[in-house]
């Protein structure tokens, strides 16, 4: 188990992955907001 842990120890990449996810979620939500502003529901 310990061997496995050290083999797959990549915490820096995990941080990079979360930065990527944050960027993606922000852009994705921003696009939905943009869509609502173009076709607003009255």
């Amino acid at each position: 188990m310990n061997n496995k842990r050290s083999k797959f120890h990549a915490p820096g990449t995990l941080v990079l992955v979360f930065i990527f996810l944050l960027v993606f979620v922000t852009l994705y939500l921003a696009n939905w907001v943009l869509l609502t502003q173009i076709w607003s529901v009255r």
């Binding site: 797959f8 992955v17 960027v23």
Partner: protein
């Protein structure tokens, strides 16, 4: 077991047994690819300086002609010729195997080059101002369609030869167990290419007959469905090949190994199963397709393909991190990254292309491929902003990075201008990032794609107002200039190495 006696040499750096017939084919296909990259790059500069409304360089007729030629030379000829070189490398050299039927491979090359030259002659002569997509009922000269068909048949033959090569290499005991991951990725690319090229044939053969007048009518929607069965999957071939090359570059530059090779192979499998179906996103505003069809194809199937990319996007940098930590770079979260070989052209190309592909191309691709969001992006400059980040910032830059190793290995010559090679990925990547972001920014303001003029000059309807696009189009134009400089540096290094590079070893022939 073959009875053929073949000439090999041993590479002193990698230890690969290099089949000389394969070597010649790899060099020829790669050099041909670079020639088309050069043509396409010159056209890119002229087109960008026209879309940059303040400069507006070309007249309308030349603009549309050059957009057609730029798209075809870059998206098809540069990339496919290079991919064929990559297939022969992955299917023969990496397996220490011979290339089966080199004569057929030369025949495939002949068909491809005849087709590519035919298409270029027709395009530059003004016989095919139909853009890359050649949507029916826009009609080009029959030689244009024939050229595309010849090229596709040649490429199909090359792909089949690669697949046969894998089987023959196994039967001759050149490798045991499964193929290396890089070759596996290339097999995924080849399988997608089979579907892609067949779909292209279904689109283009009737178009050829229609252009000759043999078929009186060609349904535009039918053409579009089959064309995009070719057009987007062709980019998925690039994606699979690019990811395979990323794994290769990570190993070559840092000694990285995939964290979980089986998972990486499953991720390639996800591409094969789902990525072609997701190509439906090109037809989101077309009539005749049900909403269910659109949503299932562009959402759920696309997400499964994207899942494959996410697996690779974690696996490759994590592999680098593990390799770097094993070398002792263990301080904090990012010492492995700061101490990475950033001056190594292959690593620079890997890092920059991965960054642009993921953060700009990947995010925008998922967003623009979502049915509802596509309605605010469709046919705007956001779309080319997306695919320049994936195909140019991702694929082309990864191919350039691999070339810095492939060229010395295949030509037995030292790389000329190594310092420039170290800088080139950063210059090219900066240019492409600016180009893509400028395009997307202008597209958000509503600027349409492909259009020669956005001021509405000569139009009775006047021009729509695009807020603040002068700045975003300037960013796009400046990015294009920087990217073209980066591309020119790559071409100069490649040509110089080929012609002037110092010989590293004499080719030693051995019989096996």
């Amino acid at each position: 077991m073959t009875t053929e006696r073949s000439d090999f040499r041993t590479c002193p750096v990698t230890g690969f047994q290099v089949h000389l017939a394969a070597q010649k084919l790899i060099i020829t296909n790669a050099v041909t690819a670079v020639i088309f990259l050069l043509i396409g790059g010159i056209l890119a500069l002229l087109i960008a300086l026209t879309r940059w409304q303040v400069v507006h360089l070309l007249p309308a007729d030349l603009y549309y002609r050059f957009v057609t030629a730029h798209g075809t030379d870059m998206l098809v000829f540069w990339i496919v010729f290079f991919e064929v070189a990559g297939l022969y490398f992955g299917g023969a050299v990496m397996l220490n195997a011979r290339l089966v039927r080199p004569g057929l491979a030369w025949f495939a090359y002949g068909l491809m080059i005849i087709g590519a030259v035919m298409v270029n002659v027709v395009m530059f002569a003004g016989g095919a101002d139909v853009m890359f997509t050649a949507y029916v009922p826009l009609k080009a000269h029959p030689a244009f369609y024939l050229g595309v068909i010849l090229f596709a048949v040649g490429a199909l033959l090359a792909v089949c030869l690669f697949l046969v090569n894998i089987v023959v290499a196994k039967s001759e005991g050149r490798y045991s167990g499964s193929v290396p991951l890089v070759t596996y990725g290339l097999i995924a690319a080849a399988v997608i290419a089979l579907f892609t090229l067949i779909s292209g044939a279904i689109a283009f053969i009737p178009a050829f007959l229609w252009s000759l007048g043999i078929i009186p009518y060609y349904d535009p929607e039918a053409y579009r469905i089959f064309f995009w069965g070719f057009g987007h999957p062709a980019q998925q071939v690039n994606l699979a090949a690019t990811v395979a090359i990323w794994y290769a570059l990570a190993t070559l530059t840092t000694g990285a190994k995939p964290l979980n090779e089986k998972l990486s192979r499953v991720a390639f499998l996800l591409y094969i199963l789902f990525i072609n179906i997701a190509a439906m996103h090109h037809l989101l505003v077309d009539p005749g397709l049900s909403t269910v069809n659109r949503i299932v194809n562009t959402s759920y199937f696309m997400y499964l393909a994207v899942l494959g990319s996410l697996i690779h996007a974690y696996s490759i940098p994590a592999g680098v991190e593990v390799a770097q930590r094993a070398k002792g770079y263990t301080r904090g979260l990012f010492q492995w990254l700061t101490k990475a070989p950033w001056k190594e052209p292959g690593f620079a190309a890997l890092a920059v292309s991965l960054l642009i592909f993921g953060f700009i191309g990947g995010t925008s691709g998922v967003i623009q491929g979502t049915l509802q969001l596509n309605m605010i992006a469709h046919n705007t400059l956001r779309i080319p902003g997306h695919f320049h980040a994936t195909v140019v910032g991702g694929t082309t830059l990864a191919f350039m990075g691999l070339s810095y190793y492939l060229l010395p290995l295949m030509t037995c010559r030292q790389l000329v201008g190594r310092k420039w090679a170290s800088l080139q990925p950063y210059i090219f990547g900066t240019g492409i990032a600016l180009l893509s972001l400028g395009m997307m920014w202008a597209g958000i303001a509503g600027v349409p794609r492909r259009t020669w003029d956005i001021t509405g000059s000569g139009s009775a309807l006047g021009a729509p107002a695009y807020q603040g696009v002068d700045f975003s189009l300037a960013v796009m134009g400046i990015g294009a200039v920087i990217a073209v400089i980066g591309g020119a540096i790559f071409v100069a290094i490649a040509v110089s190495t080929l012609l002037l590079g110092k010989k590293t070893i004499s080719v030693q022939r051995s019989r096996i």
